[in-house]
Amino acid sequence: MKVDMRLQGKRLVYRFEDWLAAVRRIDRTQIVIIIGLTLLSAFMLLPLVYLFNHAFKPLHELLLFPPTFIVNEPTMQNFTDLMALTQTTFIPVSRYIFNSVIVTVLATAGMVFTGSLCAYPLSKHKFPGGNWFFGAIMVSLLFATEVISIPRYVVVQSLGIMNTYLGHVLPMIALPVGVFLLKQFMDQVPNELLEAAKIDGASEVKIFLRIVLPLVTPAMATITIIAFQTAWGNAETSTLFMQDDAMKTLPFYMGTLTSNLANSVARQGAAAAGALIMFLPSLIIFLIYQRKFIATMAHSGIK
């Protein structure tokens, strides 16, 4: 046993020396860069830390001014409050969650799928009016959908998709940012690659799926996250197009919890817990996709 311990100690020392050597191999500029990035990362993580801590604060800490950053006496009270609140409503919260999941999945898939389909011919086929169409997309980028909610209401109403899942999904499908980003990235894919595939007899669908899409994976990952965010956090379609409470989504429900803050101080805690719950799926999706952001570009054979 004693020998074992000594051996292990020795191994530790060696390992430490290895580590020291590795650290010494990093030159001075690297150290400066790493320190700089670490400091900046701390700032980057602030909202995250705040969000997590906020959800576990007891009421008297929540209302402190100026607000504190780290929780002193963590408590689960906010979550139990939230549960209690959800039990008093007529429609169970699970219904909202269910709606949100369905809408988010459908809308995200729709946005990414139609967006990439649309960006490919825009980028690689020269067809009459293509530039005009792209110009129209650029123009629509400059409008937030909030400002055109009334005409959208009219459209949804005349399509007869009020109070349906389609009424949630369809208005979100056309995501100009997605087409815009994907088109710019597809422009970077060399035409020779596509020509070669065409000569080998690949169909357009095959070229799109096998060559273009894998080459723009970083853009696709980015779009997926943006699309997910848009769909998951969207309370607008619930407010405007859903009169039936059973068809509304989680962000809308969370919004109703926070909106009457003025007369109920007690709901602050539940709102903070709700914010964390709303944020977690985004974080998970982000962690899944963040590696894809840049992983493939380097080996893609672009340029």
């Binding site: 139609t114 815009f180 970077q188």
Partner: protein, 290 residues
């Protein structure tokens, strides 16, 4: 097997149109038509009756009243523009810098990358909404984390306190606004082949020269992309003062639509000035290189 009756080119065009079609339909129904409809509304006095909407033509009345008869638009738009003009270059330079650093071989760069991409999920989603809600409508970062009082302690009440606070406040905003930009730059940086850098090194170019002669020119499509993205992102951000003005709209539907279109014209003008400036700048640069 399907028989090929159509010519290859027609076939290709047809396939292309089929690819575009689903998105185009959504675009037409939920973006293009509503936009044109709001343009129509901006010239009309819209009355909501029980079973229909009634539109009375009023001409440029709303446009006139917004542009010449009140200062509400200018009051919110001028400070916002000042801020945007400072923030856009800072966001671009900052994210370019970070992207280049993150492209270097560092220890733990995957971790750093993940952290710097995080704002992608802050800026578009629920988190900043929550922040803004709890911070009385502003991103009063310094107050929230008690940094303000520390700063006061350290700096006393010298004249430097306020500018430093301002810069720090902005700085955090810049950090949170630059997630997508960093990704785009990093992806762009990776399209530059390593051999270009290698040959530059063999020719004895300094890192400084390499940056200006290789990295920057090769990145220019991505700089343009990011420029547009940043402008759009800032100007359609739900919490910017003009969006607030439009959202709160005390005016009628017609009035609000007119406001939307005026704002849109302003963005278009701003964006084209910026683009013109960018094209001029990059043309000068490429001219100088030859």
């Amino acid at each position: 097997m399907k028989k090929r009756i159509l010519k290859g080119k027609t076939m290709r065009n047809l396939e292309g149109s089929l690819f575009i079609l689903p998105w185009l339909l959504g675009f037409m129904a939920f973006l293009a038509f509503p936009l044109l409809f709001s343009l129509y509304m901006s010239f009309h006095n819209v009355k909501v009756l029980p079973f229909q909407m009634k539109y009375d033509y009023v001409g440029f009345k709303y446009f006139k009243s917004i542009l010449f008869e009140s200062s509400a638009l200018y009051d919110s738009i001028i400070p916002f523009f000042q801020e945007a003009i400072v923030m856009i270059p800072v966001i671009l330079v900052f994210s370019l810098l970070i992207a280049i650093l993150l492209n270097q071989k560092l220890r733990g760069r995957m971790l750093f990358r993940a952290i710097f991409f995080l704002p992608v999920i802050f800026s578009t989603g629920y988190v900043l909404t929550e922040f803004v809600n709890q911070g009385e409508g502003s991103l009063g970062f310094l107050e929230r984390y008690e940094l303000s009082s520390y700063l006061n302690m350290v700096l006393g009440d010298s004249s430097w306190t306020n500018p430093i606070k301002q810069v720090l406040n902005r700085f955090v905003l810049v950090l949170w606004f630059s997630g997508v930009q960093i990704i785009l730059f990093l992806a762009g940086r990776q399209t530059i082949s390593a051999s270009a850098y290698e040959s530059a090194r063999i020719d004895g170019a300094s890192p400084w020269e390499v940056f200006w002669k290789i990295t920057l020119p090769a990145m220019s499509p991505f700089i343009l992309l990011n420029l547009i993205y940043t402008v759009v992102d800032l100007f359609t951000y739900p919490f910017n003062p003009i969006m607030d003005l439009i959202g709160n709209g005390q005016g009628s539907y017609g009035y609000n639509s007119a406001l939307v279109w005026i704002y849109f014209m302003i963005i278009i003008i701003f964006l084209s000035v910026v683009l013109l400036f960018y094209v001029r700048l990059s043309r000068n640069r490429s001219g100088a290189r030859r």
